[in-house]
């Protein structure tokens, strides 16, 4: 099963999508759809949300229950939907700016609560849609419209952030290694609890052009070359790890889920007047 049935899950009248030629966002959407099909999740029982930015366009192309929300706040809408309709599989698509800049606070608290939302973060290391400003994940020394001398900051490690904040499933994949990408998205969709999948993506237009990678394949190579399997990563020295990142599953734990706990400890007791 590859993309044979992909159009059953897409709003075909909205295609071709708005993303630039060779932008990896579409690769991640393909993986998400294949994963949904593989797990036989009814598309009418899925809610997909997004914030603002290029990744924010995703729900517009998916033939599911969709909501395009405000910048960085999609997790708050997702929380409301999951609380009201726990039977839905709630998928929140975010950009790096959404997830760890403007929405950073929402992100860490969703992790802490362990609410059953699947957060898929399209990390292209830049603000693509608004003109190529550097984001909290732009690697040090790389160029952005707001970093003409190179970025002097240290980027966030989203995996470590999610792990520290208490998410019960945390994985990183990338848009080149499709097998792993499909695999971790499937695992995240099957996991009960807050699930974070950081997908290392590309932005040939805003990041690539400023960093001598204007061809889409150069950008995807840039991602592929730095992505190291967790097993290999563990055998590498600090020196060898420089500029690279591990891919794989970092946290996969069963922990009490927020909506269930709330139902049990608040709703049921409130109904009985048990205070």
């Amino acid at each position: 099963m590859f993309n044979e049935h992909i159009f059953d899950y897409l709003r075909t009248d909205k295609l071709p999508h708005i993303w630039c030629p060779g932008c990896a966002h579409g690769i991640i959407v393909g993986s998400l759809v294949r994963s949904i099909e593989k797990l036989k999740i009814d598309k009418n029982k899925i809610a997909v949300l997004s914030g603002i930015g290029c990744s924010g366009r995703t729900p517009g192309y998916l033939d599911m229950n969709t909501l395009h929300t405000t910048h960085g706040r999609s997790l708050t809408f997702a929380t409301g939907i999951k609380m009201a309709k726990p039977e839905l599989t709630v998928i929140d698509v975010m950009g790096d700016g959404d997830a760890v800049a403007i929405g950073g606070n929402h992100f860490i608290h969703a992790c802490r609560r362990n609410i059953d939302i699947k957060a898929i973060i399209f990390n292209n290391n830049i603000y693509g849609m608004t003109g190529g400003q550097y984001s909290p994940t732009t690697p040090t020394n790389y160029y952005a419209s707001t970093a003409p001398y190179g970025n002097v900051e240290t980027p966030f490690d989203i995996v470590k952030l999610a792990k520290g904040a208490g998410a019960s499933f945390v994985a990183r994949a990338d848009a080149f290694h499709i097998g792993l990408l499909d695999n971790v998205i499937q695992k995240a969709l099957s996991h009960k609890g807050f699930s974070v999948v950081e997908v290392m993506a590309t932005c040939p237009t805003q990041f690539g052009r400023r960093n001598k990678m204007k061809e889409p394949y150069q950008m995807l190579d840039f991602v592929a070359e730095r992505a190291i399997s967790l097993k290999k990563w563990q055998e590498m020295s600090e020196e060898e790890r420089k500029g690279k990142f591990p891919i794989g599953i970092f946290v996969d734990e069963q922990r009490e889920e927020y909506v269930e706990t709330y139902e049990k400890n608040v709703i049921e007791r409130a109904k009985k007047g048990d205070r």
Binding site: G22, A24, G26, G30, S31, I178
Partner: protein, 74 residues
Amino acid sequence: MKKRYTHKIFKNLCKGCSLCVHYCPKNVLEIGDDRKVIAARPDDCIGCHMCEMRCPDFAIQVHVCEEEEKEKVK
């Protein structure tokens, strides 16, 4: 017998980005004069589906040749 494959290309979706061309392990694909992908050497295809899964525009699918599908049914 070696399996044969056909390439279903949705020209209206293809943006000519070349990702599929670049990563095809058998050099099957090319960008045509209209800046859209073409399967120039379909007989060399090994059916790995990497072009299909790395295409950001859902513009290419690889299918086993129909005659062979029919063979299987017989």
